[in-house]
Amino acid sequence: MSQLGHYTEAIIIGILFGLIARIWMLRTDYRQYPTYPHGYIIHLSLGLIAAALGAVAVPALLEKDFTAVTFLTVAAQQFRDVRNMEREMLLNLDEMELVPRGKSYIEGIAMVFEGRNYLTIFTSLLTSLAAVLFKSWWSGSIVGIIVLLLIRFIKSGQVIREIADVSEGEIRIEGPNLYVDDIYIMNIGLDDNKKHILENALGVVLKPKNASGRVTLGNMGQRQAIIHNVSTILGVYRDTGEPALLPLAKRDLKDGRLGIFLLPQDRNIKEVFEVINLTPVLEGAVRQPTQAQN
């Protein structure tokens, strides 16, 4: 690469690492959007733009082309639009879900999409900075790899396993009232629905590990996220015109335990535990009262 200009080399290596970072962060499974080819294309293209912006910034500054920095603000604006775009799309899709994601989950996903573009800029910026400073493309690569590992660490958030213990709860119906263990869920009027529920429902109890977990689990968005994940991955015994067959989570007011009433199509309690354990703790739901300063 030595025949290329010094800056060109840095820019190329910067873009390359930025793009690798974006691809790495675009991991997809059933829980996440996008599972669609076009979603990939949109986000990889935006990732390329982000990587290019980050990579060009350092050479531009060194050439005393200070106005180039203003382009970064344009980028920030652009990526805020990415967040709006994701939010709008997911909200529209949510209306057609049997078990909706809920606004908090969507907001969390949209925020992640914006954030990952900034991480892409950050990666390519540091990579090209290193390549320019040490005047060699391989030192840029080393910094790039370090940043990639760092990003891996930053991007993975908490999961439910870290804040609560999952155990099975017994589904009980007393008169019209439905309980999971001793936690009241709802009033079921029809005998037909009671029959369906006794046959198909599973009860799960989440016991928060500390006071912070108690508040986080209380968040309605967090509860909906758990229910949505179980319903998407294991299927859901529900349809329109069956309003009583609705998975729900209610709190025990005394100790903050969460009773979850689920209707999975695949009634494998181990898998249910696994799915719940790996549900992300939503950024918008996290509360840490125990860390508050007086």
């Binding site: 008169g175 079921i188 009027g189 029809l190 037909d192 329109t240 015109g241 069956e242 309003p243």
Partner: protein, 59 residues
């Protein structure tokens, strides 16, 4: 979210009055049957207020 009572199905119509349509039924079986039909049509939850009365609520 505002819940709304869409219909009342009861064996004791004398104890109930108000805006929602009231369906009078004779026995428990009829109570269940009428509530079932209405639940599917209205896509609203059938809740038991007491053993004589059910309400259909849109949540």
């Amino acid at each position: 979210m505002e819940s709304k009572i869409l219909a009342v199905i009861t064996m004791e119509p004398d104890n109930i009055a108000g805006g929602a349509p009231i369906f009078k039924v004779q026995n428990r079986e009829e109570l269940q049957q009428t509530s079932f039909t209405l639940e599917k049509i209205l896509d609203a939850n059938a809740h038991e207020v007491n053993s004589q009365t059910m309400i259909l609520v849109r949540h």
